[in-house]
């Protein structure tokens, strides 16, 4: 329900939050009194239990006190931050920012460059994650916090009953979807959700797409490329055949379908156990995790859905202390343990593998859960996000919403041209140099 309310609540509570954060900002005495005084930092995050993770910092760092301000989610938090940046005050010191939003935030001058405080951080993270906080340049706009490599989750009991194995390729997945739906017309192996552009982008990434790119001094936009066409055609075909559902994810309807065994599979990411635990309580113990189905089993690849960095905002009065905090939060072994264990995120840091030993509670029986996840993390293909991800994503929601409703594969592939046009038009109108 949080998701349903989010856009409205974001705008309604923005005003209230401005006042509170503005107050806590002006309370900082360190400015006038110089060093030695206690510094207070505010931190916007939507990860569950983040306040408990931050307690670990506050108890060991008496001079820098961090207060967590819980957000509704990635989109509303960005909306609020951009509004605060425009207003000139009201932004927190530290902000959780999804990787795909970072170019947008940099372009709005919302993030501080903390490269002078980077130290040896770079070696502690995988190259792909590091690239998303530097955009390949010298500046550093945050520290990677978590990543969301795509994985496949399925009801092992249903697969067993149908004599199926976890799908190795997308052809296997299509065959399994057809068999399951034929055996029991109420059951679907998945749904195509027009509400989740992030998942579709992850799937396109797996197929080798990169929707944006930088070519010298201009951007390139490639939404309608061959790889994305292949993915859209594939899912459109499954929806047209009726072997998977066409309703959005994250609705009460979808939760109920997961729980009552109508949805028996989910192409999702490493953080899925937390969602399933909430939505599909009654099916605990019946799910298994597997690597993603592949286009080419010989060269396995995957994409990401979700994942975020922690950034210092351009309005922070204490960028140095804030940078110190986010470095600790995302690379200190004690913090990584808290992030994984308490906040249920999959840390991006290389050290994460050492703290993730026991599988998540919902997959308690699957001891190789994090081995599969680590493997998937290494296979992520490079993908560049552009400065107007929100425009492309909202165009995706509208175009694919119509396509999913029409249940026609041709409508799926045609939608990509609509998104491409909306994205390029918006960039050109703003004055970005777009090649091609």
């Amino acid at each position: 329900m949080k998701k349903t309310l989010a856009p409205l609540l974001a705008s309604l509570t923005a005003a209230a939050l401005f006042t509170t954060t503005a107050c806590s900002g002006s309370d900082d005495k360190a400015d006038s009194a110089g060093g030695g005084e206690k510094v207070a930092l505010t931190y916007w995050s939507w990860a569950p239990n983040m306040d408990k993770v931050v307690e670990g910092w506050n108890s060991t760092h008496p001079d820098i006190h961090v207060t967590v301000n819980k957000q509704d989610g990635g989109d509303p938090a960005v909306t609020k931050l951009l509004t605060a940046i425009k207003a000139g005050s009201g932004a927190p010191d530290v902000m959780q920012a999804e990787y795909q939003k970072i170019p947008t935030l940099i372009s709005a001058d919302a993030l501080a460059d903390i490269s002078s405080q980077a130290g040896s951080l770079k070696d502690k993270f995988p190259a792909a994650a590091w690239n998303s906080v530097t955009l390949g340049g010298d500046a550093l706009y945050g520290v990677p916090q978590d990543s969301g490599p795509l994985m496949f989750f399925y009801r092992s009991d249903v697969f067993e009953k149908n004599g199926l194995q976890a799908p190795k390729t997308w052809d296997d997945y299509a065959a399994a979807a057809e068999k399951i739906h034929k055996t029991n017309p109420k059951q679907y192996l998945g749904t195509f959700s027009a509400a989740d552009a992030g998942l579709f982008v992850g799937l396109a990434q797996q197929a080798g797409a990169s929707w944006w790119g930088v070519q010298g001094d201009s951007w390139t936009v490639d939404v309608n490329d061959a790889a994305t066409q292949k993915v859209a055609g594939y899912w459109g075909g499954l929806v047209e055949k009726g072997v998977i559902d066409n309703k959005p994810m994250y609705t009460p309807e979808w939760n109920a379908a997961l729980n009552d065994g109508s949805q028996v599979g989910w192409v999702s990411a490493v953080w899925a156990p937390g969602v399933l635990e909430g939505s599909a309580k009654e099916t605990k113990g019946k799910w298994k995790a597997a690597s993603m189905p592949q286009w080419d089993a010989a060269s396995p690849a995957t994409g990401n859905w979700g994942g975020s960095a922690t950034s210092v905002t351009s309005q922070s009065k204490h960028p140095k202390e804030a940078a110190e905090f986010i470095a600790w939060l995302n690379s200190d072994p004690a913090a990584l343990k808290l992030l994984a264990g308490t906040a249920n995120v999959y840390p991006a840091a290389n050290d994460a593998t050492s703290v993730l030993t026991t599988p998540p509670a919902f997959f308690a029986g699957q001891s190789d859960f994090y081995t599969i996840a680590a493997e998937a993390g290494k296979q992520a293909r490079p993908f560049t996000y552009g400065p107007n991800v929100n425009v492309a994503y909202s165009a995706f929601n509208d175009a694919f919403g119509k396509a999913a409703e029409s249940k026609k594969a041709s409508a799926f592939t045609e939608s990509l041209a609509t998104i491409q046009k909306a994205t390029v038009d918006d960039m050109k109108n703003s004055g970005f140099t777009v090649a091609g």
Binding site: L8, T104, S107, G137, Y250, E253, P387, V391, G431
Partner: protein, 310 residues
């Protein structure tokens, strides 16, 4: 002496302004200034240079009327306008018809104050439910798998209709508005009915008029000004419909970001981060609202707010 008279007359000339000051001040601060600012924003735009990644790569420049041109030529603009026209054709007659019917029924039962009081409150109650909450409640009822109606129909072996599918979604959204708005309009009409002296009805009954004839020949003409007023309010609410479709949007594929004009404003400002074209669209919506309401009032001869006329 002449000095005091002048002073007094100055003071007297200032009196009306002093009385007007609080109203004018509030109007300027909270209505005129924001509207003016929106008008200003609608003529500006942000210009990015190059890749737009470095600090200070954005500058605000004059845009002339280009934001308006872009807003009005957006392929999603006209469909959203037609959609709310259809929506209004469903909501306004249904809501006002129900409100009038209920007000007349309650009024016909004046002799039982306790019962009609209870009925009045229960009809009014949905109005006290915020639109977002109402939409969530209805959203749950619309989704076949979580709706108790879906469950009951399933038990009876009847398939459950997909109320959020493209052929029904307009009615589904309109239903939430009718459910929430009927009570308020009923109270307005009922209050107007109560001010009618009972002697009028008595003489009508003596003349042999039935209850139906009293309602049709006396009551409805008398509440006509109130009906016109509620019509104008409903029309404005239709032009500004936002909370219901926005709340129902994540539940279905059929409600787009630009489903209503106001949703387009929201998308431009907060999803696309383009406050300038959002401002242009809002100015257009404000003008349309203004023209329609005043045009309609002119058409009906200002009868709405002037009870003595009729």
């Amino acid at each position: 002496m002449s000095l005091t008279t002048t002073r007094r007359s100055i003071r007297r000339a200032g009196v009306p302004y002093a009385f007007l000051a609080p109203g004018l001040l509030l109007f300027t601060l909270f209505l005129a200034a924001p509207i003016g600012y929106a008008g200003y924003l609608s003529l500006r735009k942000v210009k990015v240079s190059g890749l737009g990644l470095g600090s200070k790569s954005r500058t605000e420049v004059w845009a002339g009327l280009s934001n308006y041109a872009r807003s009005m030529t957006d392929p999603e603009w006209l469909p959203s306008v037609y959609r709310i026209l259809g929506y209004g054709l469903i909501v306004v007659p249904a809501m006002l018809g129900l409100a009038l019917l209920m007000a007349l029924l309650l009024d016909a039962n004046r002799t039982r104050p306790a019962l009609s009081g209870f009925a009045r409150i229960s009809i009014f109650l949905p109005y006290a439910v915020p639109a977002v909450v109402a939409s969530l409640l209805w959203g749950f009822l619309y989704l076949p798998r979580v709706s108790p109606f879906g469950y009951a129909l399933g038990k009876l072996g009847i398939g459950t209709p997909e109320l959020l599918s493209s052929s029904w979604v307009l009615y589904a959204v309109a239903n939430v508005a009718v459910w929430g708005g009927t009570g308020f309009n009923m109270i307005v009409l009922y209050t107007a009915l109560k001010s009618v002296p009972t002697s009028l009805y008595e003489s009508a009954r003596i003349d042999g008029a039935s209850e139906l004839a009293i309602a049709w020949r006396i009551k409805i003409p008398i509440v006509l000004p109130s009906l016109i007023m509620t019509f104008v309010f409903s029309m404005i609410a239709t032009l500004q419909v936002f909370a219901e479709p926005m709340t129902l949007k994540p539940l279905s594929n059929t409600i787009s970001f630009t489903w209503t004009p106001l949703m387009k404003v929201y998308r431009d400002a907060f999803v696309r981060n383009d406050i300038h074209s959002a401002a242009a669209t809002s100015v257009v919506i404000a003008l349309a609202t203004f023209l329609l309401s005043f045009g309609f009032l002119k058409l009906v001869g200002r009868r709405a707010f002037d009870q003595e006329d009729s």
